[in-house]
């Protein structure tokens, strides 16, 4: 049977739940071959109870597709108490026109998530691939490791268009994180690789305990840790295969952890 080349699943939140809903199974790869009725009956967790999706969401399906890459899930309404959106997603597209709760895009390995709102903590936690965009602010632990784990984000790309909280890119191994706004303390703590770019200011201590990787700050830094050694000033340095326009001061550290990471701060802003 011939089917279309694009499927769109629209979820509109009709009934708000103060108890968080969990969306770790509402993924393009799980929905692309399901009928509207099957999607409506998909079981999600509300706290520790199981509920059908259509108890809270109106489901509309447009088009059909053969492969999950061609499936887009669009979520509307007030989803600020919906957790695990796009958790472990491997392909396809999710667009959320709302704020979201914890763990959005955690462990995602492929595909594209676009959040047109703010996000709670642990966004993009342990991500290994794909693209995650947040148009609003994010809270703590963006692109970090899980609590206790020493291996964080290892691939993919995260772009935040506003501000981020504490401990961004904690234990990052690889991948890229771009923050267009400001950052709280300890951005890039325990980094062992990867690239973190902050276009705004950092309150204090970027790169604490970092071993490797690059952190670029285009704004001001409140305080640099003493474990960072000032090396040199470079005009238009090539970092992460891209020239950065302006004069940057290069620091190496964190010596407190025998680190050889690079912290680049744009001239006259410290």
């Amino acid at each position: 049977m011939m089917v279309g080349i694009m499927k769109t699943v629209r979820l509109f939140m009709m009934k708000f739940s103060a108890v968080p809903l969990e969306f770790d199974n509402i993924l393009p790869e799980q929905l692309y071959d399901k009928s509207q009725k099957q999607i409506e009956e998909t079981v999600i967790f509300r706290g520790n109870r199981k509920e059908p999706l259509n108890k809270y969401f109106k489901v509309t399906v447009e088009g059909e597709c053969n492969i999950p890459e061609e499936c887009t899930v669009i979520m509307d309404g007030d989803l600020h108490r919906v957790k695990y959106i796009g958790n472990s997603m491997s392909c396809g597209r999710i667009i959320v026109n709302s704020d979201v709760d914890l763990h959005a895009g955690a462990q995602m390995s492929g595909g594209h998530i676009l959040i047109n709102g703010d996000a709670e903590s642990y966004v993009g936690r342990e991500m290994t691939g794909g693209l995650l965009e947040i148009k609003g602010n994010v809270r703590e632990f963006l692109g970090s490791s899980y609590a206790g784990e020493w291996r964080g984000m290892s691939g993919g790309k995260i772009v935040v268009y506003k501000n981020a909280g504490k401990q961004v890119a904690e234990c990052m191994l690889n991948g890229e994180i771009y923050i267009k706004g400001n950052c709280d303390s300890l951005a890039g703590i325990h980094m062992t690789g990867g690239y973190l770019q902050i276009d705004g200011d950092v309150i204090q201590w970027p790169g604490g305990q970092m071993k490797k990787g690059d952190i670029v700050v285009n704004g001001c830094v409140g305080e640099i840790l003493q474990g960072f050694k000032k090396e040199e000033k470079i005009q238009n340095p090539l970092i992460n295969n891209r020239y950065h326009i302006g004069t940057y001061t290069k620091y190496v550290g964190d010596m407190g952890n025998r680190g050889k990471g690079h912290l680049w701060i744009k001239e006259n802003r410290v």
């Binding site: 899980y146 206790g148 784990e149 020493w150």
Partner: protein, 579 residues
């Protein structure tokens, strides 16, 4: 309930049954020679039948496990399995430090019915027994830590073995312990001052007592009391290059001590996780295997046994009362480290460990463990362990079995998978021994039961506990020596066809069908009660001075250990024979 296990291929080394096709009859929880016509027949024609597994050294309950779970949430995320939905199997989580129910489920699925918790400080014994009560389906003896206890050190310094014997007898009752565990004698006590001891004759400076004195004194006391298990020793210098000499001295220091005549075991000393104590060299740069010397000693001697502590190439959690060693490991790896002092009694430490096939030291440790398996001629002198979770989690036992049953598999690994230190720095490549099912039954059942002195298990003789495991392995058709079969073998050993404990079917075709409460196995020495009371009156002032809890709140009350299996021993003042 009565059962007939029909036509299985039975391996029961304690009764010299080596792969005979026969029926096993079960009635009222024991093995019998006759059942009624109502007995339910389980057709296991051609399948592998062995006694229930016995693990004589594992860390499954107690404060260090709780610290491990709290400290490594990333480990808890591994091994997650949802509840079965039928109300029997609950949720499982954790890989190297699983939750308590998961520990019970996994051992039961593997066909194990008895597991020893190998290190419990008396002060934390209540916690350990509470956790044991949360683990289903196992019989669990606990070994009580005495190797750095202040009262023990005092009596050893005074060379007062009579009082030491009374102290041990009383403290086993208080901790509801089964036997004497010694960990880095004097070293863990020295760690209270940030120090360690080096070797057997390095005295801990505040007590002026050596590891040699502790081990020999506690061995003598163990035989005086006639405890079913011998002293269970984690020797000094664990994990240090050059430590094999200390291990040899430890083996030798108790050689002349006579064994109590009333006990069933053959040894007076059990050296645990011997793999970690068998390194030559002066640093990790020039380290090599010291296993051949230790194997030679073990092969020549009758007074000792060992378990291996095999490395399994996993990311795991190390936890031990040898706290200074954990600090050394922290300095070496830089991974997160937890340290805990147990007042008056011992210390403890915890750190994750990543054993990689590409890391030379990990591979050396792996190869040293296998050298012991392949080099010790008499399998009755050893037991299969991974010192779970220190060398790897217990769910890797089937993997270890698949390695030692196939030279082809081992050679494949040596040629293609592991770092060349395995062949350059050890003698592993020179062995061509392959374990038979009979030998596997010895090192996983019969020998650990014998070493522990648990006479009612580890065999399928009439009157034995009806602890039986059946695996979906057609013994006569399945070639364990083929490298290509190793994964299948591992899977089949991980999920038994039937696990029967006390005559109840707990696992049916890999699925847990019944949960029973675990039994707390402990030793009760009779005949010293008056002298124990006298001792307590004497030491209570010191106890209340040095402990932060009162003596009255110290012991494990009976309600912590329901159901229990108390093993009564009548003190006879010592009645000895040669090993």
């Amino acid at each position: 309930m009565e059962y007939i296990l029909k036509n299985g291929i039975v391996f029961d080394p304690a009764n010299n049954i080596d792969g005979e096709q026969m029926d096993i009859l079960i009635k009222d929880g024991i093995i019998v020679d006759n059942v009624s016509s109502d007995a339910k027949v389980l057709d296991v024609t051609g399948k592998l039948v062995m006694p229930g597994g016995v693990d004589l050294h594992s860390h499954i309950a107690g404060p260090k496990l709780s610290v491990g779970r709290l400290y490594r949430p990333e480990d808890i995320r591994r091994g997650i399995k949802v509840a079965s939905g039928d109300g029997i199997e609950g949720f499982e989580a954790g890989f190297s430090v699983p939750t308590c129910p998961a520990t019970g489920y996994r051992y039961t699925r593997m066909g194990y019915t008895t597991v020893t918790e190998a290190a419990v400080p008396p002060l934390e014994a209540k916690h350990a027994h509470e956790e044991i009560s949360s683990i289903p389906n196992l019989d669990i003896p606990t070994l009580t830590l005495f190797g750095n206890n202040w009262f023990m050190l005092k009596y050893v310094r005074e060379n007062n073995l009579d009082k030491l014997a009374i102290f041990i007898s009383k403290w086993l009752k208080l901790a509801k312990g089964y036997g004497i565990k010694i960990v880095n004698p004097c070293g863990s006590e020295a760690w209270g001052w940030g120090k360690n001891v080096n070797g057997l004759d390095d005295a801990e400076e505040h007590w002026n007592v050596t590891g040699r004195e502790v081990i020999t004194s506690l061995t003598k006391v163990n035989e005086m009391l006639g405890l079913p298990h011998s002293v269970h020793v984690h020797t000094n210098d664990l994990g240090h290059p050059g430590n094999y000499e200390t291990t040899l001295e430890t083996f030798d220091c108790v050689k002349g001590i006579k064994k109590n005549k009333n006990v069933d075991r053959n040894q007076i000393l059990h050296c645990t996780h011997v793999q970690f104590h068998a390194y030559k060299g002066t640093s990790w740069r020039d380290v090599s295997s010291g296993a051949p010397e230790l194997i030679d000693y073990i092969n020549r001697s009758k007074h000792m046994t060992c378990d291996i502590g095999q490395i399994t190439f996993d990311e795991t959690t190390t936890m031990t009362a040898d706290a200074p060693m954990e600090y050394d490991l922290y300095k070496l790896t830089g991974l997160k480290w937890a340290n805990k002092d147990i007042e008056v009694e011992t210390a403890s430490g915890l750190i994750p460990s990543i054993y990689s096939k590409k890391a030379p030291v990990s591979v050396l440790q792996w190869a040293v463990g296998l050298e012991f398996f392949l080099g010790i001629k008499d399998p009755w002198k050893m037991a299969l362990t991974t010192d779970s979770p220190n060398g790897g989690p217990f769910i890797r036992y089937p993997k270890v079995i698949s390695w030692i049953m196939s030279t082809e598999k081992l050679n494949d690994m040596l040629d293609n998978e592991v770092h060349p230190w395995a062949t350059r720095r050890t003698s592993l490549g020179s062995y061509d021994r392959e374990y038979s099912w009979n030998e596997i039954a010895i090192i996983t059942r019969a020998s650990p039961a014998k070493i522990l002195g648990l006479t009612d298990r580890g065999h399928l003789g009439h009157g034995a506990k009806a602890d039986v495991s059946v695996y979906d392995i057609d013994v006569n058709d399945f070639d364990t020596t083929l490298s290509g079969n190793s994964e299948t073998l591992e899977k089949k050993l991980l999920n038994s066809l039937y696990t029967i404990k006390d005559g109840k079917i707990l696992v049916n075709h890999g699925k847990i069908v019944e949960l029973v409460d675990s039994k707390h196995i402990w030793c009760n020495v009779r005949g010293l009660e008056d002298r124990e009371d006298e001792l307590i009156r004497e030491i209570t002032p010191e106890f209340n001075k040095y402990y932060t809890i009162k003596y009255e709140n110290y012991g494990v009350n009976n309600h912590y250990i329901k159901p229990d299996n108390r093993i009564d021993i009548d003190y006879d003042g010592g009645y000895y024979e040669d090993c």
